[in-house]
Amino acid sequence: FSEVSDVLLSGGAPMRRGPYISMITNRTMNLLIRAAMLFMVGVFLALVLNLLQVQRNVTLFPPDVISSIFSSAWWVPPCCGTAAAFIGLLYPCMDRRLGEPHKLKREWSNVMRCVAVFVGINHASAKVDFANNVQLSLTLAALSVGLWWTFDRSRSGFGLGVIIATLATLATQLLVYNGVFRYTSPDFLYIRSWLPCIFFAGVITVGNIGRQLALYEYKVSQEKTHQD
């Protein structure tokens, strides 16, 4: 069975409503739109990355491959989408709460770069042949931390990433233990040892997207308060 990135984050922690959701209806709308966009991003990434993982065991049969995208498990993409929405909303919320100023430039090009690196990490985990699992995991861990350093560099981001990655890994362990799915060659209890790194990179990436999306809302609300 294939690796499933970002699964089950929603399973571990229920979708928490931000405290500012009830303030202004317009904000609710904004939040919903953001959540929907993040959900779609999550679903898309899950499908593509899942495919990357599936690919290694698949021979070339064009009519069959399309179905194999969807056949693996129907619940994976929605879970990833929900998780992405949750994380993407949580990050700006955290920023606002902690008041930690974001030093790096907030630009879409940076976000795109971040997404590309994330896909690259997934690509590497799926395609590059490593000598052993430890090496693979260490490389991916270094790449993930590099991703954080390049595109996030905030302590709250790091902390949140680590926490969510741990939770997600735990949840995956539980799932595999209960036999929902399994990995072809587990080397870390029931799962692959590089899974936490992938989770961490995914959290950072989705958080980045969420922050960028929130920037719009922030701008608008700033103007609002200015006018009020």
Binding site: T59, L60, F61, V65, A116, G120, A124, V128, D129, Q227
Partner: protein
């Protein structure tokens, strides 16, 4: 640290020199760069083109042995894939059959019916062939299952047993089914896919030859049917194959056949790129393009944005090509899939450096020479570029030491790519940038000259050379919303979609991409497939076969051994006697008159040797894929073909006819006249299908062009491309239309005119709800900031009716009214005459109008001024920065003015209340009314006014009554700050007074004293007793007059002529810092709640300070002349100067983002409405700018009468309204678009 600094300096200097070099010799450097790119890319020619085509390797049959698994170094010609046994050995039996001699009595169906029928006997022969107890069954490739999902193939492809395909599979290898089939062609074609197909079709698979060569067609002119029987062998037994070959040759000799039989071809198939592989790849490419898009979008302020974006992309791409080329040159052949790692390489190399370079160069001072600009821009960014590059190299080095081959290879590529990218940035991109900047300068120059020439002559002061004519105004009170404003405005959804389409040219691009893909498919498709398609279409059009064919539902038996007919056909006896070719020719030659039509001739040429080459290269992979066997990265061995020639007699053909064949067959003999058009159609198609494709392509092209043209007309209806709007300095009115030529939507904002003042408005104050204004005549008016209604009028002589804190109101309003009228009447013309020299006029109208006897008094006071208070001729600010410009231009009148209102004149009859009397001046009761208001502040409903006499007054804004006054100081109050319950007054003599406003409720229940207990905007009821006490007076706060006073966040900041800025704490009036750094008097200060402090001085410098530590954060020189106004947002600093230039700076880096040229005299009026909306005043109008992009959004004209009046003050209220004064009128402008700003 020292080393670092020195290194930094060296790098900076090197970059500077390099920039000079690049900008000086652009053409040679570009040529050199192109040459080096081409040189580095040259090794790429040796690389095989990427693709999935199969690779062949030929060995001899005789000494063939299965290649071993381990590689043998000595056999260098052997490809590395040629190891181990192949997936299968393919043995093809090529059958050519013809009915010979051709008889006129035969129908077209006879051409292929009986030859096809013979396939069953040949099949039997092959199946039953045994050589020393080895049968085909033992040797052939046993297949198990067809893939599920291939139901339609189930009927025709063998599902178990030997993989042996032939045309007989159409009829389940059963002769009886074949004989019962009324329409062979329909059976064959029913499995053909409709439409364009790219891979091998079933017909190709079963016939084993390209569809056109089979001859199974009604219009077969040659009347030779060709097909193959394809056998897949799992193991190679040379003797068995040889015996089979001998046996078949013996049975069906091919006389003149000279096919070579000694070569075996091994075909290796590369990994096929399936959809599954493509999806992630496409995703990464989409992300890559999004990245490039978002990056290049940021390039701004250059002549040709797209040109530079293209140059950036070219830089990155060619650096990648160079890296691949260099790696190939040094023997590092890329084993990685180039397409896969390419996006990641681009992301690693990035476009950031290019953008940073552009930004840095663009933000250098515009008036410098191009060379110097480039050099300066380069050297500014040199350190960060080098640092980034070093970091990236480090990361890659770490990656190299992972010792994973794939990652190592990637890292090597990335290193070479980074270095070559750096090279290209430094040489190629910098040079392109210099060319671009030079072009921009030229364009700027060209545009500037006519503007200057067309300057209207009646301008009073032609001081500024860069003046622009006033913009065309469509009508008063309307706003022309300039194009980029749809970022801010809510448009209808439909319009937005159209704009989006037009802006991104989505339709055009999609069509273009679609065309490219289509052409790509056409090219990539094997021509054979296309030909089959066309032939199939022709056959389908033929009038044959309306009788339905019963579908074969049974499973094709591979070995219909139990069939009674099969035993018969085993024997070759019923076959026609094999005639040698020459014999048959002789036979035909013997009776040429009988066969007037061309007799079928079976010939064997070298082209038949490897007929499989003409098949689609996906032929074998698709055949094997049906049985879930992949050929990717594996190979098959194709054995030499076995030729079989079959000659059938006409009689036999007639015997095998199906009854329906003659029924539906067209007349057998072609009538030259025209009934038999089939042949001509076929030949037409055979010869001209290339023409057809060409015509189709042409047609499609024409349609495309037409479609694009229509799109263009629809979406870009206006002067697209005619307004080449340069993005240099943004000027007002530069952009009548944006780059894409949309008609800008027009929305209306009607400014609210507040009239009532008789003279020019001097001071403005607002707290959001109320708006107080004071004119030169001394009249204070209070307006409702929402509706614009005038609430209260406090006339100049209002002092008489209300006394100080005791509130002794002497009702002299009637007298006051009389008093005022003539003054205003006189003042009016005065203003018109001297619109600019406002400073000279303030007190005089009143003087002339009513009290001429006061002039000598003023004169005496002038003379009695202490020398320390005499001001330098450079002038100073009287609390409103707008005046700065005028003072600077006309220094002499300002000299005369300040002494005119002496403090002593303010003494009145209510003087007894004041505890402290200035002893040196005697009271003069009759002169108090003419002290003018120099500063005014409004909080809650209290107006604090600072008079030129040094008196501080607190008025009730609603009732218009004086609540209290304080006459502790004698020097004129130049600036006031009113924060919470404290008032800070800066005086002309450089002292700073702190007052506390105390409100005592009359009932004595509540008493607000502490600063914390008072709300920020307290509302005082009229019954409250308000007292104002001087708590502390800092006598020598500054050596020279205080020009600016600002208070926020518990701090009071003063700026003075003595070049220093001082920061006081509000609560205890303690001086915290004295900030030194300016080399001129301070003219502007900005401080806000977030403790951001910026100051601007007469030296044109802007300093940003840290209020907490008192250290200077940044220091930039921005203006030629005084800085007149400063505003900060969270990301940038906006400054305006006497040079009428508004500069926008990046707050963190201090880089100038861009500048806006203002009209003369309006430089100081600016305000920030929101993070991204800037408003500036102009000649009778206010303009809105997008701060992020520097685009002009709107211009609002304030009124018809305001032609010549320029907006000198501008106040942004909290509710997004703007108050500005022009002349004696106020204008209240609401900005509705801000409210609706979204996403």
């Amino acid at each position: 640290m020292m080393v670092r600094e020195r290194l930094r300096q060296n790098i900076s200097a090197a970059f500077y020199r390099h920039g000079l070099l690049c900008a000086s010799y652009p053409v040679p450097i570009i040529l050199f760069t192109s040459a080096s790119i081409l040189t580095c890319c040259y090794p790429l020619l040796k690389l095989p083109l990427p693709g999935t085509g199969p690779v062949e390797f030929t060995t001899g049959v005789r000494d063939y042995s299965i290649p071993s698994h381990e590689s043998q170094g000595d056999l260098s010609e052997r490809p590395d894939w040629y190891r181990g046994p192949p997936v299968a050995y393919i043995q093809q039996v090529l059958v050519k059959a013809a009915v010979s001699p051709w008889d006129n009595s035969l129908v077209p169906v006879d051409v292929f019916r009986s030859p096809l029928g013979r396939v069953f006997s040949v099949l039997e022969e092959i199946r039953n062939h045994v050589y020393t107890d080895r049968s085909l069954e033992a040797l052939c490739l046993q297949v198990t299952d067809l893939l599920p999902g291939l139901r339609r193939m189930q009927a025709v492809l063998p599902e178990h047993g030997c993989l042996l395909v032939s045309p007989g599979n159409y009829w389940q290898n059963r002769r009886d089914l074949f004989d019962a089939d009324p329409d062979l062609l329909k059976t064959v074609h029913q499995h053909e896919p409709k439409g364009l197909h790219t891979s091998a079709t079933l017909k190709d698979l079963l016939f084993g030859v390209p569809g056109k060569q089979t001859g199974v067609s009604l219009y077969n002119k040659k009347r030779v049917v060709t097909y193959t029987i394809t056998i897949a062998l799992s193991s190679y037994d040379a003797r068995f194959v040889a015996s089979l070959r001998a046996r078949l040759k013996l049975l069906h000799p091919s006389a003149n056949c000279t096919l070579r039989e000694d070569h075996m071809v091994h075909v290796h198939f590369k990994e096929e790129i399936g959809i599954a592989e493509l999806i992630p790849l496409v995703t990464t490419y989409i992300i890559l393009f999004a990245y490039i898009y978002f990056s290049t979008r940021k390039i701004d302020m250059v002549k040709s944005k797209w040109g530079l974006a293209l140059a950036a992309v070219v830089t990155v791409l060619s650096s990648l090509l160079m890296s691949v080329g260099l790696c190939t040159l040094f023997g590092l052949t890329p084993t990685l899939n180039g397409g896969e790692i390419f996006p990641y390489l681009v992301v690693v190399i990035g476009l950031e450096n290019v953008l940073v370079l552009t930004k840095s160069v663009v933000s250098t001072p515009v008036d410098l020479e191009v060379k110097l600009r480039i050099a300066q821009g380069l050297s500014n960014e040199s350190w960060s570029i080098m640092k980034n590059m070093a970091t990236e190299l480090c990361i890659i080095l770490i990656g190299y030491f992972t010792f994973v081959p794939a990652i190592q290879e990637f890292c090597l590529f990335a290193v070479v790519g980074l270095v070559s990218d750096f090279f290209l940035q430094m040489f190629f991109f910098t040079t392109v940038l210099s060319i671009d900047i030079r072009r921009m300068e030229l364009a700027d120059l060209n545009r500037r000259l006519p503007a200057e020439a067309g300057m209207p002559p009646p301008k009073p002061c032609p001081l500024r050379p860069r003046e622009t004519p006033p913009p065309p105004r469509p009508s008063p009170h309307t706003i022309t919303l300039q194009a980029p404003a749809f970022r801010n405005l809510r448009l209808p959804k439909r319009l937005r979609v159209v704009y989006f389409l037009a802006r991104t040219r989505l339709a055009q691009r999609i069509i273009m991409v679609g065309t490219v893909i289509w052409i790509g498919i056409l090219v990539y498709t094997d021509p054979a497939g296309l030909r089959t398609l066309l032939a199939a279409q022709v056959s389908e059009q033929s009038p044959l076969g309306e009788a339905g064919l019963p579908p074969h539902l049974g499973v094709a038996p591979v070995f219909p051994g139990g069939h009674p007919n099969s035993t018969l056909s085993v024997l070759p006896a019923p076959e026609p006697t094999p005639l040698p070719e020459n014999q048959s020719q002789g036979h035909r030659a013997a009776r040429p008159e009988v066969v007037p039509v061309s007799s079928p001739q079976i010939t064997w040429g070298p082209e038949d040797e490897e007929l499989w080459r003409r098949l689609s290269f996906r032929h074998w992979p698709s055949l094997f894929s049906y049985y879930n066997i992949t050929l990717a990265k594996r190979y098959i061995s194709i054995l030499p073909v076995i030729p079989v020639t079959l000659h059938l007699s006409p009689q036999e053909a007639i015997d095998t006819r199906h009854p329906q064949d003659t029924h539906h067959a067209p007349p057998p003999i072609p009538i030259p006249g025209g009934g038999w058009t089939g042949i001509s159609r076929e030949t037409c198609f055979a010869g001209a299908h290339a023409h057809l494709v060409a015509a189709l392509g042409l047609f499609a092209g024409v349609v495309l062009v037409l479609l694009l043209f229509c799109l263009y007309r629809v979406l870009c209806p206006r002067n697209y491309g005619q307004n080449g709007v340069p993005h240099g300095r943004r000027r007002r009115g530069d952009m009548p239309c944006d780059e894409y030529g949309y008609s800008p939507p027009i929305s209306e904002i009607s400014p609210l005119l507040l009239r009532g003042h008789s003279m020019d408005i001097e001071c403005l104050a607002s707290d959001g709800m109320l708006l107080a204004s004071c004119c030169l005549a001394g009249q204070i008016r209070v307006w409702d900031a929402q509706t614009g209604d005038c609430l209260t009028v406090i006339p100049n002589n209002g002092l008489r009716r209300s006394s100080s804190s005791g509130c002794v109101c002497e009702t002299e309003s009637l007298l006051g009214a009389d008093f005022r009228e003539p003054g205003g009447a006189v003042g009016g013309p005065d203003v018109d005459i001297f619109p600019i020299r406002r400073r000279t006029t303030p007190a005089r109208p009143a003087l002339f109008g009513d009290q001429p006897d006061l002039t000598p008094l003023i004169d005496t006071n002038f003379g009695s001024l202490p020398p320390s208070q005499t001001l330098s001729s450079s002038g100073f600010d009287f609390g409103e920065l707008v005046e700065k410009a005028y003072q600077e231009h006309e220094p002499s009148p300002t000299l005369a003015f300040p002494p005119s209102p002496p403090a002593s004149q303010q003494r009145r009859r209510s003087l007894g209340d004041q505890p402290v009397l200035p002893p040196e001046l005697p009271p003069q009761n009759n002169g108090d009314w003419d002290s003018s208001v120099w500063a005014m502040e409004l909080r809650g409903n209290l107006i604090a006014t600072g008079r030129s006499s040094g008196k501080l007054e607190l008025w009730d804004a609603v009732e218009g009554s004086l609540r209290c006054s304080n006459e502790d100081g004698v020097s004129g109050i130049t600036a006031l700050a009113f924060l919470n319950n404290r008032i800070v007054a800066a005086r002309l003599n450089g002292s700073l007074d702190f007052f506390t406003v105390e409100i005592t409720k009359p009932l004595g229940l509540l008493q607000y004293r502490g600063r914390g207990s008072l709300p920020p905007s307290p509302c005082y009821s009229s019954e409250d007793v308000i007292s104002c006490q001087l708590t502390r007076s800092v006598q020598c706060a500054h050596q020279k007059p205080i020009t600016v006073l600002k208070a926020a966040a518990g701090r009071v900041v003063t700026g003075s002529q003595d070049h220093t800025v001082r920061v006081y704490r509000l609560e205890d009036s303690c001086c915290l810092f004295t900030l030194q750094g300016h080399s001129g008097g301070i003219t502007a200060i900005y401080i806000d709640q977030t403790m951001v402090l910026a100051s601007g001085g007469q030296d044109g410098a802007i300093c940003v300070w840290d209020v907490l530590t008192g250290s200077r954060v940044s220091h930039v020189y921005g203006h030629r002349g005084d800085v007149t106004s400063l505003v900060c947002t969270t990301s940038c600093i906006i400054s305006s100067g006497l040079d009428d230039l508004i500069c926008i700076w990046d707050r963190s880096t201090g880089i100038k983002l861009y500048s806006i040229q203002q009209e003369v005299g309006c430089g100081a009026s600016l305000g920030v409405i929101s993070e991204s909306l800037l408003v500036t005043g102009g000649q009778g109008c206010v303009s809105f700018w997008d701060l992020n992009y520097g685009d002009l959004l709107q211009t609002v004209y304030l009124g018809q009468s305001s032609e010549g009046q320029s907006v000198r003050q501008l106040l942004v209220l909290d509710n997004a309204a703007i108050v500005c004064d022009f002349g004696n009128e106020l204008s209240l402008v609401y900005v509705p678009s801000v409210l609706e700003k979204l996403d």
